[in-house]
Subunit: 364 residues, 2 copies
């Protein structure tokens, strides 16, 4: 991977004006522009109705207690607008199922069911829609979630873009599982489940005007079984003490680490050479001038684990097909709270900033 | 109201080719084109993953049992693409909250929380987004639901249309409440909660190229408290036996009645002069050549109630501010299963067909 920090201000394509009076692409990139939109527009506008969510800290899914405490549910939603809709290794349909399954899994939940809502552009071939829906059915079967309710709207030609998909999902959080950023503390080991940057580069490789050859395929996959293996609730030494999980999608690992550092009020130190980045990703990023730390993933997670349990969580991850490439990449520290620092290949340090937006947008 | 049946095949604007290889506006209209898309494309493509939903019958929300039977949840989703985004009496933000609250309420559920997902077109004024989000916060506070999780995506200018909103919602179904089309049976009384066609005409009145003067304001409102009053679980004579509820949004009362008639395998007879249609709606429909039976509502419901309980349910509705205009409009019959028949003002009968699509699209 490149050892240079990306300076987003030097980009002209997707980077937004911070004080723009209109929506810019960066508002959807999962970086600091997205966070500002939530903090400065949505939360004040929603007011009291979102007060509990604001107080709980914004995570990939909300955890709710229902039925007089009888059940804890995880609840999450995402819309999917990735272009092109079909790419090496998957489609918008796979993302729409796996992405929401993974948002639930990051709360430690066992996903139960999804809703599916489509916004279709007039003139879209029904064959494309059918292919997307078939991919959703297959992904749902693989993840063992039911598709239980849905909606379809159609917008005029030129006012949409083929197929947009929204899924929302409900999962059941097992007793005793409590994963959230606020539990992350100094000393925690930071683990990733495998190669980074694969989904983003696979999508970019077939984007109009940017086609380049790659053998990479999107890593889209449901992660809840990997999570269940990591939490191994029947382990002889008791539950491993996993504090928080993230799936580093939009904004990549760089955005996820920054979010956790800020939410938990801790510093993060990572070692660049320990971060698994395949040559094909590093090569493509080198050519395109991207930093793999900010490239989107769809079938990977980052885990914050109590130091004493790091080895057995790593071993559990490596035993699972989706965690075979797992690695310890860093540590949570008391110093520089809110800041992520990377030790580079030559032993120097650099700050890994929160990205403003996605380096190239519409990746999920 | 007009006593003439609308023949959708005579329309040229939104009416689709049934065998079109591409998406047409009618696929999003909540009529038979929408139903065909679900039956012939989505359900076969989803396969096993949607088998339970297909078997349960497709309703506005799914009812799930979680936590070893500890709680019954209603789960629903809708995307909102109404144009214009602001109209007399409300906005896309109000609809996005009230619409999903109402889908939950039609299962008899007490709505608990909503997710909010936005697809924003690059270049949309942030002031518009803020106005929409503020309306959502106010509607959520009024309906006493929490906004607990969300997502924002941005699409390139020219590939979206301002703001699209998706909400999904979770509600808790009280013990003993069981509302579904299959419970509707011959002899049931059919009630509506008030004036029909108001939302649709209010939106049309300000649609580009179609502006006309009207004093009508959208009836968008949350209906769960009206439903709770109708189910009055502390009533001295025991729970009134309400069999099924629908909110007649896209496709209007005509589509809702046809859906119930088909799902329950019963006939439906309604009396046109008993259907509350305000003069302003009737006038606008007369000018535009629309049938009020197919015009969308956002704050009304239709109820199927055991005959012996019809009077007290009607009285309970009329005591609630959102049911003051409630009326009995017809009866469920054994004859002509799956077919809705209206007795016209002159005493003749006409068949109220399932509409193909919305008479004018993007009304919600």
């Amino acid at each position: 991977m490149t050892a240079e920090a990306v300076d987003p201000a030097a980009w002209t394509c997707p980077v937004p004006l911070r004080d723009s009076p209109t929506v810019v692409m960066g508002h959807g990139g999962g970086g600091s522009m997205s966070a500002e939109l939530v903090e400065h527009l949505f939360l004040p506008a929603f007011g009291e109705a979102a007060a509990a969510a604001a107080a709980a800290g914004l995570t990939d899914s909300a955890v709710l207690t229902v039925g007089d405490g009888a059940a804890r549910l995880a609840f999450s939603t995402d819309s999917y607008v990735v272009r092109p809709m079909f790419f090496p290794g998957g489609s918008i349909g796979d993302l729409a199922v796996n992405g929401t399954v993974n948002d639930l899994a990051m709360s430690g939940a066992q996903p139960l069911c999804l809703s599916t809502a489509f916004i279709l552009e007039e003139g879209t071939p029904l064959a494309d829609l059918s292919r997307i829906a078939t991919a959703m059915g297959e992904a749902a079967r693989r993840a063992e979630v039911a598709l239980v309710t849905g909606d379809t709207k159609v917008v005029d030609a030129g006012h949409g873009h083929g197929v947009f998909v929204n899924t929302a999902g409900i999962g059941l959080v097992p007793d005793g599982v409590d994963l959230r950023p606020a539990r992350v503390r100094p000393g925690d080991a930071i683990l990733v489940s495998g190669d980074l940057g694969v989904h983003g580069v696979a999508v970019l490789s077939c984007r109009e005007g940017l086609e380049f050859g790659t053998t990479l395929q999107s890593d889209t996959a449901p992660l809840h079984e990997l999570v269940a293996a990591m939490l191994d609730r029947e382990a002889p030494g008791g539950n491993p003490d996993v504090h928080a999980l993230r799936d580093p999608t939009r904004g990549g690992l760089g955005a996820s680490l920054n979010e956790i550092a800020r939410a938990a009020g801790v510093g993060i130190e990572i070692t660049e050479r320990d971060i698994p980045v395949p040559d094909a990703v590093a090569d493509a990023c080198g050519i395109l001038g991207l930093d793999p730390l900010y490239v989107a993933n769809e079938g990977k997670l980052v885990a914050f684990v109590a130091a004493r349990d790091a080895d057995r969580v790593l071993a559990a991850m490596r035993r699972h097909p989706l965690g075979r490439g797992a690695a310890v990449i860093g540590t949570v520290v008391e110093e520089h709270p809110g800041v992520v620092v990377a030790r580079t290949a030559i032993g120097a340090s650099r700050i890994v900033d929160m990205p403003l937006g996605e380096q190239l947008p519409r990746i999920c």
